[in-house]
């Protein structure tokens, strides 16, 4: 375990170097924005709308005291979506989607000697392959999560209106009350940290593959498992640090 951590740190050390060729890096970055970011809008949209709806319905269902105003449903949905559902759940989904993709892409390049080929052509492969992925994830995931927050809240509102559990007016009233801008900052910090975890851990696992296609498959599974565990773990740490 410690050995793995050491290898990870050594790799990160060679990842975070200034790219030799700026234009090459920018081109790779654009490719990753599309591959890792834009291509994820679909799944993020679906998951967000549904989790938002579920949170709203469950909250409404749990409020049976007449003393609690129904506008609390709007408030709770907003808080839950911003604090936890969008940054954490969506990051976990992305760990599955993006993490396995990164690990298998880089792992395949390793076993087919493309990484060796890069090295003999004078490229630092760790920097060339992994840095654009980390950069793209850290820049683009906040966009995805913001998008997810809006859709999650929209999903909650839609569910309340459609099921008639809460009126639109009540929901929106709760939505607008007691808003603490720091919750958004907190969500964004989590998102960026999780993005780094997903892309760097998956990149590392792909990069250190030895063997053939079986090991590539294994690395891509490990990428999902390890990033998910680390996300939950850092979720706890960041929550302790930032909210309390």
């Amino acid at each position: 375990m410690l050995k793995l951590l050491g290898e990870y740190l050594i790799l990160m050390f060679s990842v975070f170097k200034r790219p030799d060729k700026g234009p090459v890096f920018r081109r790779q970055l654009m490719i990753e924005f599309i591959g890792l970011g834009v291509d994820s809008f679909g799944i993020v949209a679906i998951i967000s709308v549904f989790t938002g709806a579920i949170v709203a319905i469950q909250t409404a269902y749990n409020i049976d005291s007449p003393l609690i105003p129904l506008s609390m449903v709007g408030f709770t949905t907003r808080q839950m979506v911003i604090l936890e559902f969008s940054p954490t759940i969506i990051s976990l989904i992305l760990a599955g989607k993006v993490g396995s993709r990164i690990a298998s892409e880089i792992g395949t390049m390793r076993v087919t000697e493309q990484i060796d080929a890069l090295r003999v052509m004078g490229v630092n492969p760790a920097n060339y392959l992994i840095l654009p992925k980390i950069t793209a994830s850290m820049l683009f995931n906040p966009v995805l999560i913001t998008f997810s927050i809006f859709l999650g809240i929209f999903g909650g509102w839609g569910a309340c209106v459609i099921t008639n559990l809460v009126t639109s007016t009540d929901f929106v009233e709760g939505l607008r009350g007691w808003f603490e801008p720091f919750t958004v900052t907190y969500a964004m910090i989590k998102t960026v940290v999780f993005a780094f975890i997903i892309s760097s851990v998956s990149g590392f696992l792909g990069y250190s593959v030895q063997g053939g296609s079986i090991e590539v498959g294994r690395a891509s599974t490990k990428a999902v498992v390890y990033s998910s565990i680390l996300i939950i773990f850092f979720d706890l740490i960041l929550t302790q640090l930032l909210l309390i």
Partner: protein
């Protein structure tokens, strides 16, 4: 001319290269032969700096290569072309972008010059109209040829080929071998080829180094190899029905 002086390499406690001392000559196709697992790939990877030998040195035309900083190695790497066993073409790039890659990295040519060079290299390996195709869209033999085109695109002085004709049909394999030896003579470069294919050995073996269990067991050329009385080499040479029939 590349000199290998007393190269040693182990993985764990397994000695994979044991005191290899030889040289590869300019303008010739130098073959490294031996059974699978005898250490050919490891030796070649030492030469191109992907594996650091535990002991010994590698000298390119009087320029020290082993144990140098990456920056120093870079100067010699600019002069190398490498054909990896599976071709190692970049999947996400077209044929044209693949061949252009070393030019992007090592030269400051304009796009037009680079495209000219790409087309020249593709013609040299007898391929046309494949510029915009991806590696997944071409056949195995074509991939090898594109990989050769990429290896020669930056006018290398040293060309390394790891099992250039593995996985190809005999006819295509022969074409690839012929291409490598033509290029070697035409540009007077130092070429090193790993192979376990006796056909290649007899076709292009101008200097042959036989590895046996990580040791340099025999050296010679395609004319002397059939008359050898080294038992391990005879075993290797006459391991196929075809060569056994030649012997008779």
């Amino acid at each position: 001319m590349i000199h290998l002086n007393n190269i040693q390499k182990s993985f764990g406690d397994r000695l994979v290269l044991d005191d290899i001392d030889t040289c590869f000559e300019k303008g010739k196709t130098n073959l490294i032969i031996g059974q699978s697992g005898s250490g050919k790939t490891v030796l070649m990877k030492c030469c191109i700096g992907l594996i650091d030998p535990d002991a010994g040195e590698i000298v390119y035309d009087n320029r020290q290569f082993s144990n140098q900083s990456d920056r120093r190695k870079q100067d010699i790497r600019k002069e190398m072309g490498v054909l990896f066993q599976g071709g190692a073409l970049f999947d996400s790039f077209t044929v044209e972008q693949n061949i252009m890659f070393p030019l992007n990295m090592f030269t400051s040519m304009s796009l037009e010059e680079k495209l000219d060079r790409v087309n020249f290299c593709l013609q040299r390996v007898n391929l046309v109209n494949v510029n915009k195709l991806f590696p997944s869209e071409i056949s195995g033999g074509m991939m090898k040829r594109v990989a050769i085109a990429r290896a020669i695109s930056n006018n290398p002085r040293y060309l390394f080929c790891d099992e250039p004709n593995s996985g190809l049909d005999p006819k295509t394999a022969e074409l690839i071998d012929a291409l490598i030896s033509e290029i070697t003579e035409e540009y007077d470069i130092t070429t090193v080829v790993n192979t376990h294919d006796m056909n290649s050995v007899l076709q292009i073996g101008q200097k042959i180094t036989f590895l046996y269990n990580g040791k340099l067991w025999w050296e010679g050329d395609k004319n002397t190899i059939l008359d050898t009385d080294n038992p391990e080499l005879r075993d290797f040479v006459f391991s196929t029905e075809l060569t056994r029939r030649i012997k008779r």
